[in-house]
């Protein structure tokens, strides 16, 4: 397979599964579900504008985090199935495929510097979970 084809494939797949920066102009808050639809200390996945967003509800912090659901290393939509943890107080999600940890605040991968998840703002509006994208 030529390098060009490979790049093309990567791009096409990214387009399918990840939000594109160029679409950022029309950003807005999307209502996703009720708080009770989330699972304490675990993840669920939401489909917003054809983008898969993983949502994590951390009880101890009273916080909900949103990141892209596509695992950039394992190349599958699985991040919401990972285990929540912390590394020196930074909340992280570990990929269920190969266990790399990604920061839930910055999205960056702790083991592979050039890999990252997209992160999104979340707010709770009268028991409705809303994500900004």
């Amino acid at each position: 397979m030529s390098k060009l084809t490979k790049q093309l494939i990567e791009k096409q797949i990214q387009k399918q599964v990840e939000p594109l920066e160029s679409q950022s102009s029309g950003q807005t808050w999307h209502s996703v579900c009720r708080m009770s639809d989330l699972i304490q200390d675990a993840g669920v996945c939401a489909l917003i504008n054809d983008k898969q967003i993983a949502l994590f509800n951390i009880k101890r912090q009273g916080k909900v985090y949103a990141v892209s659901n596509f695992d950039p290393i394992g190349k599958a939509n699985v991040m919401y199935r990972g285990i929540i943890g912390s590394v020196q107080d930074e909340p992280v999600i570990a990929s269920p495929l190969y266990k790399q940890q990604f920061s839930l605040t910055s999205g960056r991968c702790l083991q592979e510097q050039d890999k990252a998840l997209h992160t999104f703002d979340v707010r709770i509006n009268e028991d409705t979970v809303q994500v900004f994208l």
Partner: protein, 859 residues
């Protein structure tokens, strides 16, 4: 493009290969220092048909090792190092004027530096008749093949030469079933390493093993035999009949090539080298058994390795001007070995030749032990030692000698039996300069440095420093240094499971059990910090399940489970899952087989038979899992726990019910075992098997728990496994009745789940258990800890609380929440794409997904 620097190595024995390794290492070090390095071309020319192999352990060839087991490298490894090599390519000429060598195959290779590592050959004394067909030597794998062939038509074998190698050779022919004799010219065996007293004991031990020893014998002629093929005729008029003769009368260096090239050669052979291992031509080096240093040839591997290192460093300093130079300054010739099961050790000045030296001797004839130490005139230094029958003090004594450590007031205590006062030298007493592994010249400091660099287990220490990867004699000492060093750093730190808990798995287990902790939150609140992680959460989940066996996906336990446990299925690379229903003992009705087929067909799943006698169905989307399981459970299946660190399968044969050879009903036993222990959560997966007779069709000896039927009951094997590092199970108890068998297995499983580390399989657990198998027997069979009742109650509790996790899950609305692709709609994950191969689905590759996208986008 820079011109290549060329190194040509003649010979690929252990030392020649070690030189290659040293060059690769130096090269790496140089690359780290400099960006652009003048490229190297390394070429190995070997006269043998195979690359380097381990000659030190050659005799193990007859106890089942193959040529591959003995191999020290492979063509693949050399390719990966970019090392050129030729086998069957004996070098026949060196042209020193043009720096070119020529092989018998007619190829020529030019060199900047040439290394002679041609080794040595066995010396065959020119006794009349020594060239007959069954007169052999013991040096290469080809020699061993010849010995094996000869042994097939022989009844009696004689080894001429009673040195170290001679006794090894005697052991080899004894293993081939021949009546074995050793003939030695000197008045004793191993005269170089052992004194007269030790030699005498060695002789009597070896004779008691059935090898006949003839000392002070000069063989004058090998004539035709009367009962055997040949007859040895000695100078004293006696004769000895034999069918095969093995010569082991010392070695002679291969120095023909050097002689022809006019390099300086010693009077009795050997290529003369200086302290940098250079021959009389500074661009040619000689290392190993072909080299003569200060008129001495070293017939051991360790000095050869030192020479290889010295030569490699010198060449690099010459090429790149930046490497350190070291010199070869001789070598310690101490040796420790086991000959036919007899320990023999020789350290330093074994014969007490140092003027004024004194000796302490301990001899225990009833137990066949002889020990001697040679100490300095002022009684402060150990000069040498001889040990026969018991090598347990070898390491300590060697350290005293090598490191000039002050002797205790009563040096004799070093070799006296332990009941009379133990003086042993702990690893912590050794200085950092102490040589621990002499084959690879690894000091205690090197091991400590490896620990500083982050090596955390013994295996890493060995691969990182190479310690104890040569002859292996220092293995116990390396372990000792490693453990004492860890202890001095506070082992608890190293055993912490992760940053959130300052405890090992075992300590967490005890805390949870003693304090009756029921949730991860409670444990974190009381004993931990942070949010936990993907290490401590599943570990805690496993411990909680081992103790309480509650439903693993309840509200509190769900967030702790690893990806597979979390969805009660096995996650595959594309995010889909595979499903394995339990098929106890591999026994399944046609009706149930049809259901599996129908389910797989309905959901278009890829099906494959597993190694554990079950059927795996792949390609299930997360939202399909409950649907699939509802159908399976309705048909009477239950979960197979293929996703859990838990009891997986009990493999079995059909046993006495069908088989002509079976002696017990192995299938019934397999069903009982699987139904009793199914779902038991443990530190790692557990596999069982039951065989109905000694033919062992169920391969029970490769399982954590293996049961083999006997005429009188069952033999129990424990702690075997296949996988990355296979291990045969150990025989634990024999001829057990059904009840006792279950009792023992109950206790072993509970003891393992309580004390093993996270992800430690039973094999490694047993190897790390202090006291090993004997200790395990004491705890389980003799109840030495008084725990067996408690362990059985614990198991009863777990067995009593068994539930099919899938059945419970289908009835639990909270757990069911996660079996949906999206929380806010009913869509499917579009990135999951299958294509067909051999009439079944498989995940699409990236390029195949692109084609699909192209079709969709571009109609």
């Amino acid at each position: 493009m820079l011109e290549k620097r060329k190194i040509v190595i003649v010979g690929n024995g252990m030392v020649g290969h070690h030189f290659v390794e040293q060059v690769i290492e130096q090269q790496k070090a140089q690359h780290n220092k400099q960006q652009s390095l003048q490229p190297l071309e390394v070429t190995v020319l070997s006269a043998e048909s195979r690359l380097a192999y381990d000659r030190v352990h050659l005799s193990e060839f007859f106890s089942g090792k193959t040529a591959d087991d003995l191999a020290m490298t492979t063509p693949k490894t050399y390719h990966s190092w970019d090392v050129n090599f030729r086998t069957n390519a004996k070098v026949e000429h060196i042209d020193r004027q043009f720096n070119v060598v020529k092989t018998v195959t007619g190829e020529t290779f030019s060199y900047d530096k040439l290394i002679l590592a041609t080794g040595s050959y066995p010396f065959v004394p020119p006794i009349p008749g020594h060239k007959q067909p069954h007169c052999l030597v013991y040096r290469t794998i080809e020699d061993l093949h010849a010995i094996e062939r000869s042994a097939k038509s022989s009844k009696v074998g004689v080894v001429i030469g009673g040195g170290l190698l001679g006794l090894e050779a005697a052991n080899a022919i004894k293993q081939l079933g021949l009546e074995t004799h050793v003939v030695e010219f000197a008045p004793q065996l191993m005269a170089v390493q052992v004194d007269a007293g030790g030699g005498q004991l060695l002789r009597s031990k070896i004779e008691s093993l059935g090898v006949q020893v003839h000392t002070s014998k000069v063989t004058q002629n090998i004539g035709k035999g009367e009962q055997c093929r040949y007859q040895l005729q000695f100078a004293d008029g006696e004769v000895l009949e034999t069918d095969m003769i093995l010569f082991s009368a010392g070695i002679r260096p291969y120095d023909e090539l050097a002689k022809m090239a006019d390099l300086a050669v010693g009077e009795r052979g050997g290529v003369v080298i200086n302290n940098l291992c250079q021959t009389s031509d500074p661009s040619i080096y000689a290392i190993g058994e072909c080299a003569l240093w200060q008129n001495f040839i070293f017939g051991l591997v360790a000095p050869g390795y030192s020479m290889a290192k010295v030569a490699a460093k010198h060449i690099f300093s010459d090429f790149y001007a930046s490497a350190d130079v070291t010199e070869f300054t001789g070598a310690d010739l101490s040796t420790k070995l086991k000959l036919m099961g007899v320990d023999v050790g020789s350290i330093g000045d074994a014969h007490g030749k140092t003027p004024g030296s004194l000796a302490c001797i301990f001899e225990d004839q009833p137990n066949s032990v002889y020990k001697k130490i040679v100490i300095s005139e002022d009684k402060t230094r150990l000069l040498g030692a001889v040990l026969v029958g018991d090598n347990s003090e070898y390491d300590t004594l060697l350290q005293y000698m090598l490191n000039d450590i002050d002797l205790p007031e009563t040096p004799e205590a070093l070799i006296l039996p332990k009941s009379e006062g133990e003086v042993s030298l702990g690893a912590s007493a050794l200085p950092d300069t102490a040589t621990i592994c002499s084959c690879h010249n690894v000091s205690k400091g090197d091991i400590v440095a490896a620990l500083d660099d982050g090596c955390t287990d013994l295996g890493e220490i060995k691969s990182c420093t190479k310690a104890s990867t040569g002859c292996g004699g220092c293995a116990a000492l390396v372990k000792n240094v490693f453990e004492e060093e860890l202890q001095s750093r506070g082992v608890s730190v190293k055993q912490d499971i992760c940053e959130h808990f300052p405890y090992s798995r075992r300590q967490l287990f005890d805390l949870i059990k003693v304090e009756k902790i029921k949730t991860f939150d409670e444990l974190l609140e009381k004993h931990g910090s942070g949010l936990g992680c993907e290490v401590c959460k599943p570990t805690t989940a496993s411990i909680l399940a081992s103790i309480y066996n509650d439903y693993i996906l309840d509200k509190f336990h769900l967030p702790l489970q690893d990806s597979n446990d979390n969805f009660l299925a096995n996650l595959q690379k594309d995010g889909t899952y595979s499903v394995v229903p339990r098929i106890p003992g591999g026994e399944v009705t046609p009706e149930k087989l049809i259901v599996i087929g129908q389910v797989a067909q309905k959901y278009d799943l890829y099906t494959k038979i597993t190694g554990g006698q079950r059927i795996d169905m792949f390609g299930a989307r997360v939202e399909q899992l409950p649907l699939i399981w509802q159908e399976l459970i309705d048909a009477g299946f239950e979960t197979g726990h293929a996703y859990g660190k838990s009891v997986r399968t009990v493999k079995s044969c059909v046993g006495s019910t069908w088989c002509r050879f079976g002696v017990q009903d192995s299938l019934n036993m397999a069903l009982d075992l699987e139904n009793r222990y199914k779902g038991l959560r443990s530190p790692h997966k557990l596999k069982f098997a039951v065989s109905g007779c000694t033919r062992e069709c169920a391969e029970a000896q490769s399982k954590d728990i293996g049961v083999i039927a006997t005429e009188n009951g069952w033999n129990l094997y424990v702690c075997g496994n296949g996988g990355m590092r296979p291990r045969h199970a150990d025989l634990f108890a024999t001829d057990l009745d059904d009840k006792t068998l279950l009792q023992y297995i109950d206790r072993i499983l509970i003891f393992y789940t309580q004390t093993a580390d996270r992800l430690q399989r039973t094999s490694v657990w047993l190897e790390n258990l202090e006291g090993g198998l004997d200790y395990l027997k004491q705890v389980i069979i003799d109840d030495s800890l008084g725990l067996s009742k408690e362990m059985e109650t614990q198991m009863e509790n777990i067995v009593g609380k068994y539930q099919c996790e899938w059945k419970t899950t289908l009835e639990d609305p909270i757990a069911m929440k996660r079996f949906k692709a999206f929380v806010n709609c009913e869509e499917q994950d579009e990135n999951i794409v299958f294509v067909k191969e051999r009439e079944q689905i498989r995940p699409a590759k990236d390029v195949e997904k692109l084609e699909r996208i192209a079709v969709v986008v571009d109609p």
